[in-house]
């Protein structure tokens, strides 16, 4: 198992947002996390990425205990994410957005950066090349010098995924990647997600409300309701699960 979540829970004051939650993601797997609004899906993402510290339970990633580690440390270990409401570096160029992600693997220091000696030239040239190649995968090469904030919505979503991949993750968390997209954009996104999985050899865990996407590309699903797991298994099974249907539609 690449990611193992053991009985995690978090309490905000008197509210138990997530409790006794267990899940796992294997290498090269696309896993979906679904549930009605307010079920605690994004809270699980925030627990996995260290935005919140779980009040109980353990998170094991790549044989390391990452419970309570800081967000940036968890990212360095190999979990990258996108956000439900897009969070780009809006006033920076598209390529600079991606370059920030590569920063953690670069070595030249502050002094070399200011006086442009040593590793500076070599690393910056390599970085530019790498960033352009990454943008090319997402069809954003033409807009490399554009301001990220000026991109149309669909491309902003793509750029966010590109930036997350730039950090060199083993596990990619996508928070509602298809939100606000029309059916043809969603279909394109599905292709991209498959491509990302194969090309970058990452496992993907995604939250999504668009059932056509979830049922199509996820190999396994976890269903959350009121902070606890009510079902898990392959999409076909989940589709016919009585608990899931009543959670979504009511009794």
């Amino acid at each position: 198992m690449l990611l193992e979540v053991n009985d995690i829970g978090i309490t905000f004051g008197g509210l138990r947002a997530v409790m006794g939650f267990n899940m796992g993601v294997d290498k090269d797997e696309i896993v979906g996390l679904i549930g009605p609004n307010g079920a605690g899906k994004t809270t699980v993402f925030n627990l996995l990425t260290g935005v919140y510290t779980p009040t109980e339970g353990k998170i094991i990633f790549d044989q390391k205990d990452i419970t309570g580690k800081k967000t940036n440390v968890i990212n360095n270990l190999g979990i990258a994410r996108t956000f439900q409401n897009i969070r780009l570096f809006k006033s920076m160029s598209v390529i600079d957005n991606v370059k920030v992600a590569y920063n953690q693997n670069m070595k030249y220091n502050e002094l070399q950066g200011v006086f442009k000696f040593g590793l500076y030239k070599k690393e910056e040239a390599e970085l530019h090349e790498k960033a352009l190649n990454l943008l090319d995968v997402f069809g954003l090469k033409g807009e490399a010098e554009e301001n990220a904030g000026n991109l149309p919505y669909g491309k902003q979503r793509k750029l966010e995924i590109a930036r997350a991949l730039g950090t060199g993750p083993k596990l990619l968390l996508l928070d509602e990647p298809a939100a606000g997209m029309n059916p043809s954009e969603t279909a394109e996104l599905m292709e991209i997600i498959r491509l990302v999985k194969d090309k970058f050899r990452v496992s993907i865990l995604l939250i999504e409300h668009d059932m056509s996407l979830v049922m199509n590309i996820c190999e396994r699903l976890y269903v959350l309701d009121y902070g606890s797991l009510i079902a898990s298994g392959p999409p076909e099974e989940i589709k016919n699960n009585q608990d899931v249907i009543s959670a979504y539609l009511g009794e």
Partner: protein
């Protein structure tokens, strides 16, 4: 032409230097203007370095006059008590001023940079006032009477011909060079990403606290250096100079020149240093004037008038 374009900054810097030297020794600019130009260079250092914190890092820090005061008094005290050959004394004093400003910025920064917006502004503002009051209270700094007899260009011409217009120019140039190159390096990129979206930056593996401290302490370093230059330029120091108003004046330079715009900071520093001198009879009310000016600039800035852009003049004057 390609070379000219690539080395535009370096060439224009050299041209300005030559013109300054020429004008000075030909006596085209008199002592009165030289004093103002000196102040311009000090203010350029302050504005450009503060732009790193406010414009690039996106943290509203209002205590830069405090760091400047620390630099100024450190340098003044060192050059009074330290026995070193004159050729070494000044560089050592400048460096120590910067380093001490950095140390104090770390002491303020480590707890306060966790705060955001107004809260950071308040705590840094408080820090500036504390520094001012400590200086007023101490004996070694001359207390409220001020610090007199700091070696400077006018009194120690033979032993110390250091802080004159040319030296100030070189320091200002060095500051602009360092800050603008820094903002284009990977570290600068990360600092801008923190300004744009802190949460996303952290999720992209950036150690937010380290880079915030880096930007903040770099600002402080140059403020300290500017303080040291100011001390040796003036020869006397009064703690009251480094009050809240001076911090705000630096912020105004940054805002007027544009957040994250180094050329703008330089232009604003020049403009706002000359302005009160030209309106000297009006100088009591200059803060009032600044506020009105700032409001006008804010109103005009968002309108996107073409004549406010450099390109507009480049096309007309240089034909490109």
């Amino acid at each position: 032409m390609a070379f000219y374009k690539k080395q535009f900054g370096l060439i224009s810097a050299a041209v300005i230097l030559i013109l300054l030297v020429l004008f000075r020794y030909l006596g085209i600019i008199d002592d009165y203007y030289i004093t103002i130009i000196d102040l311009v260079f000090i203010n350029i250092i302050l504005a450009v370095s503060l732009n790193l914190t406010i414009g690039f890092l996106g943290q509203l820090a209002l205590g830069n006059a405090g760091f400047m005061a620390i630099g100024a008094y450190t340098s003044a005290i060192l050059t009074t008590y330290l026995k070193l050959p004159p050729i070494l004394l000044f560089p050592v004093a400048v460096l120590c001023s910067g380093v001490l400003a950095v140390l104090s910025s770390l002491i303020v920064g480590i707890p306060s940079l966790r705060l955001k917006g107004d809260y950071l502004a308040i705590i840094t503002l408080g820090f500036g006032e504390i520094i001012k009051n400590i200086i007023t209270g101490l004996k070694i700094t001359g207390g409220a009477r001020g610090y007199k007899g700091i070696m400077n260009y006018n009194t120690d011409f033979e032993t110390n011909a250091y802080v004159n217009m040319i030296v100030l120019y070189l320091f200002a140039g060095l500051t602009v060079f360092v800050i603008s190159n820094f903002t284009k390096s990977r570290h600068g990129r990360v600092i801008k990403s923190i300004r744009d979206n802190e949460i996303a930056s952290e999720a992209s593996g950036v150690n937010i606290m380290y880079y915030k401290l880096l930007g903040f302490s770099m600002s402080a370093f140059f403020a300290g250096v500017a303080g040291s230059l100011y001390a040796h330029h003036n020869g006397i120091l009064a703690a009251n100079k480094f009050d809240f108003n001076y911090s705000i004046e630096m912020v105004i330079m940054v805002v007027l020149g544009g957040m994250g715009n180094i050329k703008g900071s330089i232009a604003a520093a020049i403009f706002l240093t000359f302005l009160p001198q030209l309106l000297s009879s009006f100088s009591d009310k200059r803060m009032l004037f600044y506020s009105i000016l700032l409001i006008i600039v804010m109103l005009v800035k968002n309108k996107n008038y073409p004549f406010l852009k450099i390109d507009f003049y480049k096309k007309r004057l240089l034909g490109r």
